[in-house]
Amino acid sequence: MTSQAAAKVAPPARKIDWSAYISQLGALSVLIVICVIFAVIEPAFVSPRNLFNVLRQVSIYGLLAVGMTFVILTRGIDLSVGSLLALSGLVAAAVYKGGTGLLSAGTAGQAEGYGLWAAIGAAVGIGLLGGFLQGLAITQLKVPPFIVTLGGLTAFRGAALLFSGGQPISTFTDEYKFWGQGMIGSVPVPVVIFLSFAALAFIVLRYTRYGRHVYAIGGNPEAARLSGLNVNAITLSVYVITGFFAGLSGFLLSSRLNSAEQVAGVGYELTVIAGVVIGGTSLFGGEGGIFGTVIGILLIGVLSNGLTLMNVSPYWQQIVVGLIIVFAVYLDQLVKRRQ
């Protein structure tokens, strides 16, 4: 067998399997077409300032979507990110200001709490913990992710209300506001953070063993288990990752708005999931990636920004985004059926 084989097989070429990218390219081409249309109708759309503005608007969604991509790649879903974001933002603000509710209501700008890094650490810590608990329920109690995180959606929002006593925590110092409002050169800070984490996640998913395992589990959990992968540990970890991004985003949003509110992030989970799915990551797991997610999120941001510039009512914007979601996924399936 071997001798014959050596003769028959051509030297293996390092060909790229483009089919893996096509679904992501679908979203990219829609994005480009829409950008061109906006640029023609409303030249102000392509000014660098406006483009950075778009990026800043989507950076919170984008961070959450990076985490969500990991979860969806494993066939899971995380509906709790918006609520966990609100809770984390309040915790960050309270740690920074040294208290919650009425205590902080009037006092402007003065840091009397535990400092900036403690605030960021607390927000991220709450996110990690929330994600870990949900991951535990999913892997140990075997409750489906949809249900567990639906519970999280409600419970974390409740915890946010309980924690803050229904009062927002507002007005921070400049060092706190810098993370959401500041600029590095001409690039907004949240944009830098979003793109950095997107790049990191891209590398993790593409080049590390862990990334491989995430795809493998989403593609076929049973085959992954029989191949000796620790399916439970990896499944748990992706919820910790979304938790991390929810925590970080909670802090960033409070900084950007100069206020941590218990109603922050309401409905974000749906926008984020929409972005991930538009970007070509399959809800059935195992296919897709960060590149597509960034495109998907940008698409949503560009639409909303462009339509606003064109004075289209925000109500209409929602309708358009809804149609785009369905259209993008239809396009994706059309391409896949062709293959």
């Binding site: 050596a6 293996p12 390092r14 893996a20 080049y207 063993r209 862990y210 992954a224 029989l226 195992g286």
Partner: protein, 526 residues
């Protein structure tokens, strides 16, 4: 009897699938009030034949007469209208609905839209009473035992005025007492003129309940006998035939391997037991299975569907829980709780269903192949892609895996090449023990012989292989020793010299009471 007087008459029925002639000029007939046994090895064509009768498949050629009239069965609904019903091994009920709703599903009495529950209950009760089934019409199906659910299936068939009832392995999940009840019910059906086709591996039961037996082998008729004229041995002989022996060149490699494999025991399994499966939590799946595996040996596991072969290897590999028993690897007792443990001990598993369990179809050949071996190709969590590509290239060349590139999604490969990817995945780990569950299922003849050759080379290199196959000739050709399983029990361990098709079939169809008979008197009598 001829085509005009028989209730059902099938003549020269043929059916082929890509690459397989599933049925080749098969004839079968049955009369009202007759119980016909249909037997044959795995893959003999029984299921295809039944799927033709129940309207799932249409025939390529041949004729079917029903009540003396020529007939084509178009679809399952049509079959039911004709009075032909089938009860599959995996029962087909709605667990969340009641007995009566299941019996009349889709044909509820009363006006459309609203169901007349009282009428439904009355009609259901009439059928249950007539068949002496002690079931409450309003009981939820999921609260019933397997035997009771089977009764609901029978009642459902009766409510549709069944004329021909096909039962596929109806006793496989039943206890002795439940089998008796089922047989009483079959007698009752017989008295009311229903023709019953009884498919079973349990020859004793076939000989007891049936009037006549039709035997299939390799998609052809292999015999048709009246039960009163037949013995168990006759049936076995018809099932296995004699023609297959020369198919495999069994002794070609045998000599060199015999010298090669040593007496070192690599794996010992002692009293492995498992209770409970998906259908029945009390079912005995594995009953005190013990065996040993030597270095460089190919050990075969023979058995019919439901014998527990796959369950046994999954339990060893840690994929399923076991309820008792000990496993020793190289004389040390080990506690295998998950595939991770098994892999650490040098055990690999090529699973029975390559697509559902062996591969991640959406991912590339390269990714699938290195999935278990990734740790060795990783530095600081990063996969060393160059090293990985080189290794994958080497295995693609070594096993002659035909793929346009290693980045090709594995779903696009042929069955044989997919299987080679799975085998390559395990060989990268350099395993001591490789378990191969149906390694040649669904792959073409050329790829099969490549896999045989590969297995032989692996054994020669000192890897011990446990091979499961439903094709007895394949086991006889490849294995140094064969263990026969029946209903979760080891019924025989045969050396290469002792094993032949009839002996294998004999031990694989042996049931408990026959085993004890055999042991106490040294004879198998029926």
């Amino acid at each position: 009897m001829d085509r005009h007087s028989a209730l059902l008459w099938m003549e020269n029925v043929s059916k082929s699938f890509p690459g397989v002639q599933a049925l080749d000029n098969v004839c079968l007939h049955i009369d009202s009030g007759e119980v016909l046994g249909l037997i044959g090895q795995n893959g003999a064509g029984k299921s295809t034949l039944m799927k033709i009768l129940s309207g799932v498949y249409t025939i390529d050629s041949g004729e079917i007469y029903y009540n003396g009239q020529p007939l084509r069965i178009h679809n399952p609904h049509h079959a039911q209208e004709l009075g032909i019903s089938i009860i599959y091994q995996e029962l087909n009920l709605m667990p969340n609905l009641s007995v009566m709703e299941n019996i009349f599903i889709g044909r509820e009495p009363g006006p459309p839209i609203f169901v007349n529950r009282r009428e439904l209950e009355r009609q259901a009760r009439a059928i249950l009473d007539r068949m002496q089934m002690h079931l409450r019409p309003s009981a939820l199906v999921r609260s019933l035992s397997v035997a009771e659910q089977q009764m609901v299936e029978i009642a459902k068939a009766i409510s549709r005025d069944v004329r021909v009832l096909i039962m596929d392995e109806p006793t496989s999940a039943l206890s002795e007492a439940e089998v008796e009840t089922l047989f009483e019910m079959i007698d009752e059906l017989k008295r009311s003129g229903v023709a019953v086709i009884f498919i079973s591996h349990r020859l004793e039961e076939v000989l007891r309940i049936c009037d006549r037996v039709t035997v299939l082998r390799d998609g052809k008729n292999a015999g048709d006998v009246l039960v009163k004229d037949a013995t168990r041995e006759d049936l076995i002989r018809m099932m296995v035939g004699r023609s297959l022996d020369q198919f495999f060149h069994r002794d070609e490699h045998w000599g060199d391997r015999a010298v090669h494999h040593s007496d070192d025991i690599v794996l010992e399994v002692r009293n492995l037991s498992r209770r409970g499966n998906a259908i029945n939590p009390d079912a005995v799946v594995l009953d005190n299975v013990s065996f040993t595996l030597r270095r460089g040996e190919i050990l075969g596991l023979a058995g019919l569907v439901g014998a527990g072969r796959t369950e046994l290897v999954r339990a060893i590999f840690g994929a399923d829980r076991r309820s008792g028993g000990h496993i020793f690897v190289e004389d040390k007792e080990v506690d295998i709780r998950s595939p991770v443990d098994a892999i650490r001990l040098g055990i690999g598993l090529v699973p029975e269903d390559r697509k559902a369990q062996g591969l991640i179809l959406s991912l590339a050949v390269r990714v699938n192949m290195t999935l278990t071996h990734l740790g060795a190709l990783t530095r600081f969590h990063f996969v060393r892609l160059d090293q990985e590509r080189r290794l994958v290239e080497e295995y693609i060349r070594r096993f002659d895996i035909r793929t346009p590139s290693m980045e090709q999604r594995v779903v696009n490969l042929s069955g044989g090449n997919q299987q080679k990817v799975v085998i390559a995945k395990w060989l990268m780990l350099n395993p001591k023990i490789l378990i191969m569950d149906e390694p040649t299922r669904g792959i073409d003849v050329g790829a099969k012989s490549e896999i045989y050759e590969l297995m032989h080379q692996l054994a020669m290199s000192g890897i011990s292989i446990i091979m499961i196959s439903s094709e007895f000739p394949e086991l006889l050709a490849m294995c140094d020793r064969i263990i026969c399983l029946a209903e979760g029990r080891v019924t025989a361990e045969l050396s290469r010299e002792e094993a032949d098709l009839e002996t294998l079939m004999h031990y694989c169809t042996l049931r408990e009471q026959v085993v004890s008979l055999n042991q106490s008197e040294g004879v198998v009598s029926l």
